[in-house]
Amino acid sequence: MWSAGSKSLYFPPLESIVKALWTQWVTGPARAEFASSLEHLAVGYAIAAALGIGFGAALWSLRYAREATSPYLYFLYVLPAPVLVPAALTLFGIGFTMKVVLIAFAAMWPTLLNTLDGMRGVDAVKLDTSKVLGLPRWRNLLQVVLPAAGPQIVAGLRNSLQVAIILMVVSEWEASTDGIGYYIVNAQQSFDYVGMWSGIIVLAIIGIVANLLFVVAENRALHWYYGARAVEGVSR
């Protein structure tokens, strides 16, 4: 796709992009954008994960609340979150809070719905057993329900991560003075296509590395589950 001597304006030669990656992102001024983007992502995602699992578990135990809110949860889940950027902007202004709120709000729903689904799917016999054995409520939640719902919660967390990355860029792009999204839109508008490509590659790297880290964490957290599945002879 790329030749070293590419003359195309839109597809600059790879070597100059790599050079820009080094001078801008590794040693140069764009390091600050990188750091602030990751900060928004990390804080927003952590809040989203905590709220998603927390509210999911709460709704699981409160049956009436679950029945009453389920269509609205779904509405918020399919609502294309980027449309909320202008609204968040008018409410929170440009800044750290706006981005974190936006990421947390948008990325919360996949985790919440998966937590709820996973917990509802827990084998009734297990719940009865723990009830009969008189397990305290918190112990039931920690030792019976959470492990059983674990695989699905993790699937939700993974979806949330992807949503969080998208929202990180969208919020920086639309309304920001820092971050990778801001860097890319700035480069694009000033016809600095080399800079734009370097930003795109940085984004791709973030997406891929985040995904890899997630898989590693998942394998550590759920090794008992895959182990059990392997014993049963079910390939994953």
Partner: protein, 321 residues
């Protein structure tokens, strides 16, 4: 209360609760605006938004915008899904191809589509082509993986039977592979339907392609006086998402009505309250490690769950789960 009336109540109660929640949420929104907790120049009241939505619905602008959004969504989804179906199947049918390509697909899948948006913008500008190209790109990778998994999950017995019967080419594809892979593909498509809409709206909101997203951006830029219109379009985007996802679920239910997963789900839907009685006997091997741990019996019945503990004669009646 007779059983029929109980069943009716059981079926209606969630919907009554839901209407109540909707009314309460809209009332709270209106109340907070009226009381001045939410400043009207930052966040319009519920009635302002509703009337803006009504005004928009009377003009052609709203419907054109919805049409443009649906256009990008449909073309992009069709291209991405068709490509994923064909390429995914071809890759999955050959182990060598599968093993060499699946890593590359996983790699591309992990790239956030937002990273591709600037490329689409410089190549095509704020056009329909830009919108559906992005949608197709976003939909292709995850769906191709799903198609691969589906095609590779064909039951070995079914596959061997097909070879014995010498089924080949298109017939094997239509009669053996597709039926097995269909539920996987359906799951992938369900996600793709939502992702396609999100990407399409991002392309409008940020890239400036025409549609609902562009309307939101224009209303935002026009300032506080048209914020009701902005929120009206945000509501429209959400409703559009729910409608598309709902339509897909209905279509899936119809197309896959023969499949085990849909048949059991249909059974679940018909069953308005639990009818089986289940008995669980639990014996703790580590009795004594927390208070009240003794062998016991749980009975899960029609209208409630009864948990009895042997040896202690404790009985608790709990509502059905």
């Amino acid at each position: 209360m007779t059983v029929t009336r109980f069943a009716l109540w059981y079926a209606l109660r969630p919907w009554l609760l839901r209407l109540g929640v909707l009314a309460a949420a809209l009332g709270l929104w209106q109340g907070l605006s009226a009381a001045g907790v939410i400043r009207s120049d930052e966040f319009p009241s519920m009635t302002q938004t509703a009337s803006a939505l009504w005004d928009q619905a009377k003009t052609a602008t709203l419907w054109t915008a919805i049409g443009q959004t649906l256009q990008g969504w449909a073309i992009g989804l069709a291209i991405g899904a068709a490509a994923a179906l064909v390429i995914g199947t071809l890759i999955a049918l050959n182990s060598f191809a599968y093993n060499s390509v699946i890593g590359v697909i996983e790699f591309f899948k992990a790239i956030p589509v937002i990273a591709i948006l600037p490329i689409g913008l410089v190549l095509w500008g704020a056009t329909l082509t830009m919108k559906f190209a992005l949608v197709a790109f976003a939909v292709f990778w995850p769906l191709a993986i799903q198609v691969c998994y589906g095609v590779r999950s064909v039951d070995p017995v079914v596959r061997d039977t097909a070879s014995v019967l010498r089924l080949r080419g298109p017939r094997k594809f239509a009669l053996v592979i597709m039926p097995s892979a269909a539920p996987f593909i359906a799951t992938g498509l369900r996600v793709a339907v939502a992702v396609a809409l999100i990407v399409d709206i991002i392309a409008e909101l940020i890239g400036g392609g025409s549609g609902v997203g562009e309307r939101i951006l224009l209303a935002e830029n026009a300032g506080p006086s048209v914020y009701p219109i902005m929120y009206a379009y945000i509501v429209v985007a959400g409703v559009l998402g729910v409608l598309l996802a709902g339509a897909f679920t209905l279509a899936e239910r119809y197309v896959l009505r023969w499949h085990e997963s849909q048949r059991s789900a249909a059974g679940e839907r018909l069953k308005t309250y639990p009818e089986r009685t289940e008995v669980t006997l639990a014996v703790s091997l580590s009795a004594g490690c927390w208070p009240g741990a003794h062998p016991g019996v749980a009975v899960r019945g029609a209208f409630g769950r009864v948990v009895g503990v042997v040896g202690r004669l404790e009985i608790a009646v709990l509502p059905a789960a």
